[in-house]
Amino acid sequence: MLGFVYGVAAMGLTLIWGVMTVINLAHGPVIALGMFGTYLLFTHLGLNPYLALVPVAFMGLIAGFVIYGTAVHRVINAPHLSSLLATFAVNMIIIGLGTAIFSTSPQNIDFPLGSLEIGFLTIPYTRLLATLGAVLFTAALYLFLYFTRPGKAIRAVANNRRAAELMGIPSSQVLALSFGLGTMLAAVAGGLIATFFPFTILSGGPYELKSFVICVLGGLGNPLGALLGGLILGGLEGLIPAFMPVSWVPVVEFGLFVLVLLVKPSGLLGAK
């Protein structure tokens, strides 16, 4: 179940990497901002947290444009270390501001929906809806990338930026758009997670780490791979505890991760 939500967060990361080979270290805080966005809309405006995802997605897109314009655009052709440091700076700024404004007390969206009981299985509806939301966003992203002009432009730039520019595609705009989409997905994933887990401004960190693992597992730069990676990770987290102590989960997860890197370094669905 959680796999889909992990997948959405990882798709954002992998999209940014795929298009502009930037490792976005501000991914985690943006996930946390998505959580707070949903929380604030829910507590102050009384908006249904699932409807709140739409404005949160929009704000995520805008935040992406702003981050891209201020921190990433100038260093996009510089060595990786520069963009890594630039996004890390954004990461620290968001966390610092967030700590000052929201403090680090855990927040909680109190929106219980009850649980679905099938035999001995009990699944909270919040998780089912989060899965549904994640699937919808994935489908929308797929349609956007494959069936719209800007989507096609993104794929063209990802494939070969110089060639795309020669064909008259405005690459800076496309890069900004892809960065915006990436952060939008992060914000949405955050919003979905916020409906069932409490969070602080620091909560994005673990999901960012998971996103990295998922991206590499599924193949960097491949959104479908990210979704698959997310499902694998989510599945492992659900299955392993049935057979062994829960503390073994990261051991198996990362063991598998190393194995995939050894056997197929480009990831499960990565290019050759």
Binding site: S105, F120, P245, S247, V249
Partner: protein, 418 residues
């Protein structure tokens, strides 16, 4: 001429006699610095902030009352010096060294949580400073040979055992208990003692697993609870335990009793709504506590400091929130120092230590007495826990004391069926 000389000699002699007494004529004031770090940010900030509030209330009150007068006439006033430790161990040791050597702290209060307090205790001992630990219940800290560290909380080994006694009362046929706990120092100490106690009482520990600090997804653990388990116990600190309680509810766990650490006594826990209902918490202190001067007299124990009602009232007035046991813990840590300085008539470490070693005191927070044997020096042996439960009263969630029976404000109810 001679008489003039004699007069001068007499005058000088009188002056000479007066001089040593001069301080009592012009009362000298001394400011004692209470140094501590607190988790203003990080995962322990809910508990940490309450503790700071409690302590700062004590400082306000003791200074407003004119401080502590020593026999030599010196008036001791108190001031706090604190840093944010970000809930991190590395920061704690660095900052306590700074508190002692740069800020010249005279007495220390521990940071919140056993792990952090343990790190700070080493520094206190090294620099020969007395440290009162608040919010640090782990037993092991006091078994390391420290001689200047004193515990205000009931130790971890006696933290949840009362909940098992309550279970025996609630459902005498109960057999199976599942324990799911945070893998930190304090919670591990608590559940190890709980497990041992449960086994001697004939309970079967059907599940015994730990989760990492900062965990948010408890589904894998909850799925492993055997369906016929009568009680779920454990947890850790506020952030993780409240999440755990929420997910236990969402997953529809059918246990008669859910008893968790740290979070349930906090007023903020009620924000969980229905998920809080029926959850039992172990508390060091509750505003409904019945400790009083008369009670102390009856028990033949010395009484010191403010009353429960006064603490409750002044705390609410200052911070616009309900005090929790973390707040009371912060206040009482200061109160212990005040008592020991007053009684010893000195701010000298060795003299204050002597008083603390022999202290047997009743306060608004309850009974306080330290172990003074070298084996477990400073361990709290006087203070008792109370167990609270969130119940519905007129449609609103209220936290009732359900155990021990002597302190009961309501009878315990089942977690399930509710």
């Amino acid at each position: 001429m001679k008489s003039w000389k004699r007069n001068v000699v007499i005058l000088l002699t009188i002056l000479g006699l007066l001089l040593p007494a001069a301080p009592s004529v012009f009362a000298a004031e001394k400011t004692v610095i209470i140094g501590y770090t607190a988790s203003r940010t990080g995962k322990l900030n809910v508990e940490g902030m309450r503790q700071i509030n409690g302590l700062s209330l004590w400082i306000d009150q003791v200074n407003a009352a004119g401080g502590v007068k020593l026999p030599d006439g010196t008036v001791v006033k108190f001031a706090a010096k604190d840093y944010d430790d970000e809930s991190k161990k590395e920061r704690v040791q660095e900052l306590y060294t700074k508190l002692i050597s740069t800020d010249k702290a005279d007495f220390l209060i521990s940071p919140y949580s056993s792990g952090l307090a343990d790190a700070a205790a080493v520094i206190a001992q090294q620099y020969n400073k007395i440290m009162i630990t608040a919010g640090a219940a782990s037993d092991s800290t006091y078994k390391k040979g420290f001689s200047l560290v004193y515990q205000a909380y009931t130790p971890a080994s006696r933290y949840l055992t009362g909940a098992l006694d309550l279970l025996g009362k609630l459902d005498p046929s109960a057999k199976k208990v599942a324990i799911i706990h945070e893998k930190d120092k304090f919670s591990t100490d608590v559940v190890n003692a709980l497990k041992a106690y449960g086994e001697t009482k004939g309970y079967q520990i059907a599940l015994f697993e730990g989760y990492d600090s900062g965990a948010t997804d408890f589904a894998p653990f909850i799925n492993k609870i055997p369906p016929d388990t009568q009680a779920v116990m454990g947890g850790g600190h506020f952030a993780d335990t409240s999440t755990f309680a929420k997910q236990l509810f969402e997953k529809g766990v059918k246990a008669k009793m859910v008893a968790l650490l740290v979070a349930p006594p906090e007023p903020k826990f009620a924000e969980l709504g229905d998920a809080a209902l029926g959850v039992i918490g172990a508390s060091q202190w509750q505003p409904e506590a019945k400790y009083s001067e008369e009670g102390a007299k009856k028990a033949g124990v010395e009484w010191f400091g403010t009353s429960v009602a006064d603490f409750d009232k002044t705390y609410k007035a200052k911070f616009k929130e309900e005090p929790s046991y973390h707040s009371a813990g912060g206040y009482v840590a200061g109160l212990i120092i005040e008592y020991a300085i007053k009684k010893s008539g000195s701010t000298d470490t060795a003299k204050v230590k002597e008083v603390l070693d022999g202290m047997n005191l009743m306060t608004f927070y309850g009974h306080l007495k330290f172990d003074n044997t070298p084996k477990a020096h400073g361990l709290q042996v006087g203070h008792e826990m109370v167990y609270t439960q969130w119940q519905k009263k007129d449609g609103k969630l209220v936290n009732q004391i359900v155990w021990p029976e002597a302190a009961q404000t309501a009878k315990a109810i089942n977690y399930f069926p509710r």
